[in-house]
């Protein structure tokens, strides 16, 4: 690869107390890529995302972002360096309106392509409902707020955990249609997804996790169905 990777993870070991959830995960992401992380429930996908932003305890691990070590940094400092997470279950601020949620996302005032106007351009329905309580929106619209809130930080890397979980198919289609515009604006993305077929349509590379270990890595076009199901289910 000509450029140094944007994100480089080596030997990631993540723990919840004494329970180990990730065992020596290594991956690297270059600028402009869209990475899909697939795997069954409890494979460690969400743990991987949370480890990157410092919400899970890690040991003997290297997580480098633009060459700088992130392990041991506080979450708000990691976020300030240019990584945003769209969490599983959206977790909007319930006492804030749609617009206030977006503004909370943009409070670091990092420079970049994303502003309130750009988010409303990407998801017009949010502009129409900007003054409503964020949690009064439908599930799909809430996911749009969650994505918009993360983009407002103008991150160089956006982590999206369970992009389509619990959403209606038509809504999933809309949100996936917006993803290329996000990456076209220069934002690198890692998308965690249980819906493998959907994830492979947008990803430039895919990693599969099972039991806290990476079982497969490659470009979607180079992977056969058998490769994927073998890595996913271990059969």
């Amino acid at each position: 690869m000509p450029d140094a990777p944007l994100l480089e993870i080596e030997n990631l070991q993540a723990f919840y107390g004494s329970f180990q959830a990730l065992f020596g995960v290594s991956l690297s992401v270059s600028v402009g890529e869209t990475i899909a992380v697939i795997g069954a429930n409890s494979a460690g996908k969400s743990t991987l995302m949370k480890s990157i932003v410092g919400l899970v305890q890690t040991k003997n691990s290297q997580i480098r972002f633009r060459g700088n070590e992130l392990s041991g940094l506080e979450t708000h400092r990691i976020v300030a360096s240019g990584i945003a997470l769209v969490p599983e279950g959206r977790r909007l601020f319930r006492s804030l309106s749609v617009e206030e949620n977006l503004m909370a996302g943009g409070q670091l005032k990092r420079n970049g392509p994303w502003s309130l106007a750009e988010i409303y351009n990407l998801f017009p329905v949010l502009g129409e409902r900007r003054h409503q309580a964020a949690t009064s929106l439908s599930g799909g619209q809430q996911q749009m707020v969650a994505i918009g809130r993360a983009l407002m930080a103008n991150p160089e890397l956006i982590l999206i955990d369970e992009l389509s979980l619990g959403l209606a198919p038509i809504v999933i289609k809309d949100i996936y249609a917006a993803l290329p515009r996000v990456t076209a604006a220069g934002t690198t993305a890692i998308v965690v997804e249980q819906d493998t077929a959907q994830a492979l349509t947008v990803a430039s590379r895919v990693y599969c996790l099972r039991g806290g270990r990476i079982t497969l890595e490659g470009e979607p076009s180079a992977l056969s169905r058998a490769d994927i199901s073998n890595a996913y289910f271990g059969v």
């Binding site: 932003v53 919400l55 506080e74 979450t75 708000h76 976020v79 300030a80 945003a84 997470l85 969490p87 977790r91 601020f93 319930r94 006492s95 804030l96 206030e100 503004m103 909370a104 996302g105 409070q107 670091l108 409503q132 309580a133 964020a134 949690t135 009064s136 809130r149 930080a153």
Partner: protein, 288 residues
């Protein structure tokens, strides 16, 4: 007319109770910390004001300008060096620390200032009043307290709902992990919240000390009044807290009219009735 006067005085005292409550409610709302030492901090502020007035001879009401920043600084440090270390998933450690703080403040005040009861002398304004009608008059001091309560609660309301700081505090209150993911430094925000709370405590303490005698042991009683105002008004609603304070003040005034011994009892009874009939308070915050 005597009854009307009692009710009016009760309303005005309610403003003071709302001031006791506002700082308490702010801290509970932002970090889910029940600050048992809140009443003792009010008394501490009263003694700081007393020292300030004794040293410089300034008017107690002007002393607010000195005591409020001092208490705010103390609050920031208290949160940064003590409470922030105890906050986590378990709400018990900070509760116990605040209980310990309460004991420490009471005993430290006893050591330094003795158990003698003291009072701040605000001068002629203490007894000056406006006569509204025969048997109905309003003292300037209670009026100043009441207006201050409205101004402070209005300012808090504005801060919470119309400023970036308020948005940050509400976001942290909703979901502290997500707030960190927005790049907010929760510990710094908590320290700012405690600083604001103790600045309000300073105002409450000075009003308390100019209204009546105080000694190191009266903190817990003020904490109870503050609690009752918050619960009656409904958690998380600042104007509700003001109304809660007023209801408590009126209940006490009416109780005292029936029998002087019933003053405190009447307030507690109204509180218990609200708790039994509408445990979420009369004006709870409505979330989406």
């Amino acid at each position: 007319m005597v009854w009307l006067n009692a009710i009016l005085q009760g309303v005005l005292v309610g403003g003071l109770y709302a001031l006791f409550a506002a700082g308490l409610s702010l801290i509970f709302g932002v970090m889910r910390l029940v600050n048992i030492a809140h009443g003792d901090l009010i008394v501490l502020a009263a003694y700081v004001a007393l020292t300030c007035v004794t040293l410089t001879g300034m008017n107690p009401l002007l002393a607010i300008l000195v005591v409020a920043p001092l208490m705010a600084l103390f609050g920031y440090a208290l949160q940064k060096f003590i409470f922030n270390r105890t906050l986590g998933d378990d709400i018990l450690p900070p509760l116990l620390v605040s209980f310990g703080l309460s004991v420490i403040i009471q005993n430290a005040l006893l050591q330094v200032y003795t158990a003698d009861s003291r009072k701040l002398n605000a001068g002629p304004i203490e007894v000056a009043s406006v006569k509204l009608a025969d048997g109905l008059s309003v003292g300037w001091m209670p009026l100043i307290m009441f207006v201050s309560a409205i101004v402070i609660i209005g300012a808090l309301q504005f801060m919470f709902y119309s400023t970036p700081l308020g948005r940050a505090l509400r976001a942290t209150s909703d979901d502290q992990e997500m707030a960190r993911l927005m790049g907010y430094n929760n510990r710094h925000l908590y320290s700012i919240a405690m600083a604001i709370s103790l600045a309000i405590v300073a105002v409450a303490g000075i009003f308390l000390a100019s209204r009546a005698n105080f000694d190191p042991s009266i903190g817990p009683q003020r904490l109870i009044f503050g609690f009752e105002a918050v619960i009656i008004g409904g958690l998380g609603n600042l104007w509700g807290t003001l109304l809660g304070g007023i209801i408590l003040g009126v209940a006490q005034a009416v109780g005292a009219m029936i029998d002087p011994g019933w003053q405190l009892l009447a307030g507690h009874i109204v509180f218990l009735i609200v708790l039994a009939v509408k445990p979420e308070g009369l004006f709870p915050r409505v979330d989406g």
